[in-house]
Amino acid sequence: MFLLIEQLLNGLQFGLLLFLLAAGLTLVFGIMDFVNLAHGSLYMMGAYFAATFVGWTGSFVFGAILALAATLLLGIALEFVALRHLYGRDHLDQVLATFGLILFFNDMVRLIWGPAGLALPLPTWLTTPVQLLPGVYYPAYRLSIIIVALLVAALLYLVVMRTRIGMLIRAGASNREMIGALGINIKLLFTLVFGLGAALAGLAGLMQAPILTVQIGMGENILILAFVIIVIGGIGSIRGAFLAAIFVGLIDTLGRAFLPDLLRKVLSGAAASTAAPALSSMLIYLLMAIVLVLRPEGLFPAAKR
């Protein structure tokens, strides 16, 4: 029972983290019609920046804030130098160009930080377990990830639904040309949105960093998961991304935790231990396939333009 609660929370935490990544991706896609494979690289850079700045400043929170700012700046610079020339181009061109950027970032990181991974140690106040229910303990750090991510999600919702910038973002998503014609500086808006996406990816990266090792290519696997989430949730839909991310996070975590035992009840021990890892890593892709068969546009497609 305690295991189930713990795994549910882990799944929620993973899902929220995925949401931070997917939100930026789906915003950028919805508004600029731009496929950004290098989004995973920004996630990686967030983690590396955090590991470096925390080392320099000696403070986890201060280092994290610096890393967030650095990822934001990096995203804006990236948009300014290269990516804005790709808007309006074929999706294939965008995929290739950002694929090139992934190669670049991976080798850049290898050049600067070396091929070995980095560790980001947590301060002691985040390592002590917290008692949630009598007898149920949960790591404080994972709990704080859940809280921060929920806060960010709420903030994102408020910004997009309740502010002028958010109104422009939504208007941009439904008709790019029109808001340009109405005298809105779309170039600036696009840069802002991209920076926001980059910061969200960086936040996801730096929060995940203490749990996993900070290493080259860490953004690539999770990027694919973010894609799966966007496809399930419907491209351009933040709400869809949120629900799909939590769903995927839970299914992936629970599948990995409980599928081997479940299979062992049905199959012989040897067959189960072979099939379980394969099946649990396939689970979310199967989910995506089912969603596609039933709803090719995703569960919550953004309004048609």
């Binding site: 896609f29 496929v35 290269a82 020339h85 790709l86 181009r89 999706h91 294939l92 061109d93 995929v95 290739l96 160009a97 694929f99 090139g100 950027l101 992934i102 190669l103 670049f104 970032f105 991976n106 080798d107 850049m108 290898r110 050049l111 690539e220 696997n221 694919i224 894609f227 799966v228 966007i230 496809v231 491209i235 072979t274 890892p277 394969a278 890593s281 396939m282 892709y285 995506m288 396939a289 596609l292 068969v293 090719p296």
Partner: protein
């Protein structure tokens, strides 16, 4: 296609002649390295050509094409590990399993369009990657060593470097010929018609979905053959073969050479892999140059190398 003299045809003719004569050069100079390098390049050119069939002619931007390289490879590797060494069994199985995989993921993916299609093919290929990583009986993450190459009852000896090279080259030329025939057939014209306007083709009465799916399966099968060749070439197959960056590499080869041009992928594969080889001799951080280079190619050289050459006409 009426052949007319232009720079791109001339380059293709020279490259093909050079490929045919390469073992002679290698034997006279004793330069074995270039033969192994070119064998690898030819195999990737075959894979890229098959991708070109769906991407360039069919307009289906598959980002999971490397999956077939792995599936073809694993078919050979697993059968070899289970003691079935005959290529007459291994290769048809490799092709069949690739075709089946293409049929299943194609049937699902082709329900979607555009960027969804890119992401979905990517996700399915990643799924294949994870499944291969979980095959602990067959090496899992570490990959599977193939101790004996496919045997063909003495018909051809794959362990002989030159014979294997010519086999790969024959597969490449055969594959390109097949693609040429397909593209110019009624079937191919329908597929190209669907690329430019699906609704119109549907309206004239062509079942667009079925045509696209068939084309998708053919491309997957050809790439499965490339996978069987690759596994024999490296005597090894691992999940890394179908990692998504591999699919990206294949896409780059197609675009670099020129999408929708028959020999474009071959030229693209040669340029990309030779460049990679040269840059990695020059610096360990070759991707630091390759990455921005890709960006520049996308920004400034549309139509790829064949497109550039096509603009240079005689006179």
């Amino acid at each position: 296609m009426k052949s007319k003299f232009n720079a791109s045809n001339a380059v293709v003719a020279v490259v093909c002649a050079a490929l045919v004569l390469l073992p002679v050069y290698s034997a006279t100079t004793g330069n074995i390295f270039i033969l192994t390098l070119m064998t690898r390049i030819i195999i990737f050119a075959l894979a890229a050509s098959s991708l070109n069939l769906i991407m360039g002619y069919g307009g289906m931007m598959s980002f999971g094409h490397a999956a077939y390289l792995g599936i073809g490879g694993y078919a050979v590797g697993i059968l070899a590990a289970e003691g079935i060494g005959s290529g007459f069994i291994q290769w048809p199985v490799a092709l069949g399993v690739s075709a089946l995989f293409a049929l299943v993921i194609g049937a699902l993916s082709l329900r979607t369009r555009g960027v969804y299609f890119i992401m979905i093919t990517l996700a399915f290929a990643q799924m294949a990657y994870y499944v291969a990583s979980a095959l602990s009986r067959y090496g899992g993450d570490d990959g599977l060593t193939i101790y004996k190459r496919s045997t063909f009852d003495g018909l051809i000896n794959l362990s002989d470097r030159t014979q294997f090279y010519y086999l790969c080259l024959a597969c490449l030329f055969g594959g390109v010929y097949l693609i040429w025939r397909i593209v110019n057939s009624r079937f191919g014209l329908v597929v190209q018609g669907v690329r430019s306007n699906e609704q119109r083709m549907q309206a004239i009465g062509f079942p667009a979905y079925r045509y696209r799916l068939t084309c998708f399966v053919i491309a997957g099968t050809i790439c499965g053959l490339a996978g069987a060749l690759l596994a024999n070439n490296t005597d090894f197959v691992s999940p890394a073969v179908m990692y998504w960056t591999r699919s990206g590499d294949l896409m780059v080869m197609v675009i670099l050479g020129g999408m929708g041009s028959l020999f474009g992928p071959l030229i693209g594969a040669i340029v990309y892999l030779v460049l990679e080889e040269l840059l990695s001799q020059f610096t360990e951080y070759w991707a630091l140059i390759m990455g921005p280079l890709l960006l520049l190619i996308v920004l400034f050289a549309r139509g790829g190398i064949m497109g550039l050459l096509g603009r240079i006409r005689r006179g």
